[in-house]
Symmetry: C2
Subunit: 333 residues, 2 copies
């Protein structure tokens, strides 16, 4: 569902919560209050959308990280985009332990609620949902934003025209009626997509290293080595590693990368002691479980102006142009 | 895609490989030879189909294990069935390291090949695939069978009529032309689906135990406890456990179940020593990684006719009606 003639959902002025006109829609208000009473609901919706997108991209099998690619290698098929809405419905049901509804998707506080997701600019509401409350969810991975709101879909709040499936979109008036649960959510980061936007040459280098390999598996280790070599100081998550590796066992690829990069002076820090302390000493982001940060080290003197750390009696700081290349120390992991 | 007016694919006489008429379709034969040269290709296709079905069912979030449920709680939506074909295409590409094709799905031995999957009785071939080689895959989870074959889709091998999407099915003549890579594959077991077929009352007891709980998570442990209590001697895999738990961390639920079932005399054996030896001593299936088997134990004498095992100096055999209930021993895991 993409309607390029309409303004993007995320280009609109940030939609303020609509006024709670006294008892105007008691069912909707009760569903709204229920979501607002859920612990960390905003972070959890962000995770629901991140996980759903990542599972459909299936990076460990496909190397994909960009939903918007529709042609050639790494394309995302239309059936996958359609299915993403179903996946979001499933993941949200599990996360908030929502019941199945009949005929709608959910039952929340005794009220039937239909789940509708879009990665585009509007939602497609089928005939059978009209008159019901819709949980409208939208995510834009390119911009790293998401929104969640409630709307009772009526003749007023939908556009008149129908698309091929007999579905109708939310009207400009309808948008103003949306009761926003999360008007301006920040989607958990898609590291590789950000890299594509900000440093496409690094991304090309990471993938380019395996061009000579036949089969994705053989090149996976080389790509992971390059990932850590080219992005020191960046916190890299499991999704990023398995997508670059195109293999399930990301942690194993990281362990092997340590050996490959040691002679060039690189360490890869994970969440196990003493790695987080070393990251902290060096002024790097601190990895938690399922994330890693690499650093190229060199020997420094105690009076060097760089942050430094002592490993096995030797003092190390971050390598700079002109510094000696050293063999990286081995850290218990 | 389900065509109930046609005979089920799996009801047909098991289709024998079609004769290799000398060079009739060199491209097709070259793709055929390539698949046959792949190590363990039959088991690997079985795993591809099993994994694809299980991932779409998403048991850990939904509790689902039956693709054929189309209504009510645990229903599988049409968009999910459609997407299953795409998932199979993705998982097969990754498993056999097939390249992307253009415009078709794959390139194999320099030839464009389109992937087509059905969980029904025929395949839907879109216009743009006509004239190309199709990798036809079919799986029937109810019957535990699958097939994989190759067909060049021509006017002769397709039925004349089109469905709503302008897709055409494989004709009776076409079926005879299929070059079978795997004419009669055995799908890896769907344990819960088999249980539904063979012992529905046990399945009801497992799920029924959590009826009093609010929210899936709270009841997950109770269901897993019941799973191991009601099915001693059965090898239970990770998919079964996470589906019953409706939680990601199946192994944790199993560990906790050990504590809950101990006083009733149940042990749960995993793949770590000494559990496999104990399973072997007791004549139980031997668990490998990601599977477990439970047993209800009682004390037995050395001259008892049952298989027995000694744990911490005490001899145990499988409990029978009338035996004493003992506290199960703790086994290092």
């Amino acid at each position: 569902m993409s309607m390029s003639q309409e303004p993007s959902l995320f280009d609109l002025d940030s939609a303020p919560p609509s006024p709670n006109s006294s008892g105007e829609d008691a069912e909707l208000e009760s569903v709204y209050a229920w979501f607002l009473s859920q612990k960390d609901y905003s972070d959890r919706f962000g995770e629901v959308l991140r996980k759903s997108i990542d599972e459909v991209l299936d990076g460990q099998r496909t190397g994909r990280y960009d939903l918007s690619v529709s042609k050639g290698e790494g394309r995302v098929e239309k059936t996958e985009k359609t299915y993403l809405g179903t996946k979001v419905e499933i993941v949200a049901r599990a996360e908030f332990e929502l019941g199945y509804g009949s005929p709608m998707d959910y039952t929340i506080e005794g009220t039937s609620v239909d789940a509708k997701f879009t990665s585009g600019s509007n939602w497609a509401i089928p005939k059978e949902a009209i008159g019901h409350i819709c949980l409208l969810m939208a995510a834009n991975d390119q911009k790293g934003v998401f929104q969640v709101g409630l709307l009772r879909t009526t003749m007023d709040t939908l556009n008149l025209g129908e698309n091929g499936d007999g579905k109708r979109t939310v009207s400009a008036f309808g948008r103003k009626q949306i009761r926003w649960i999360i008007p301006n959510g920040k989607l958990p980061k898609n590291f590789l997509l950000d890299l594509k936007k900000n440093s496409p040459h690094i991304l090309e280098s990471i993938w380019g290293v395996s061009n000579g390999y036949k089969g994705s598996r053989n090149g996976g280790q080389a790509r992971v080595n390059n990932l850590f070599r080219l992005l020191p100081g960046e916190l890299l998550d499991r999704t990023t590693v398995v997508t670059v590796a195109m293999q399930h066992d990301g942690p194993k690829r990281v362990r092997d990368a340590r050996g490959h990069l040691k002679s060039s002076g690189y360490i890869i820090l994970g969440h196990l002691k003493p790695a987080p302390q070393i990251a902290s000493d060096l002024g790097l982001p601190i990895p938690n479980k399922g994330s890693w940060v690499s650093a190229r080290l060199t020997h420094v003197h105690e009076d060097d102006d760089r942050p430094s750390t002592v490993i096995d009696g030797l003092r190390y700081g971050l390598w700079r142009e002109g510094d000696m290349t050293v063999t990286a120390p081995t850290i218990a992991t």
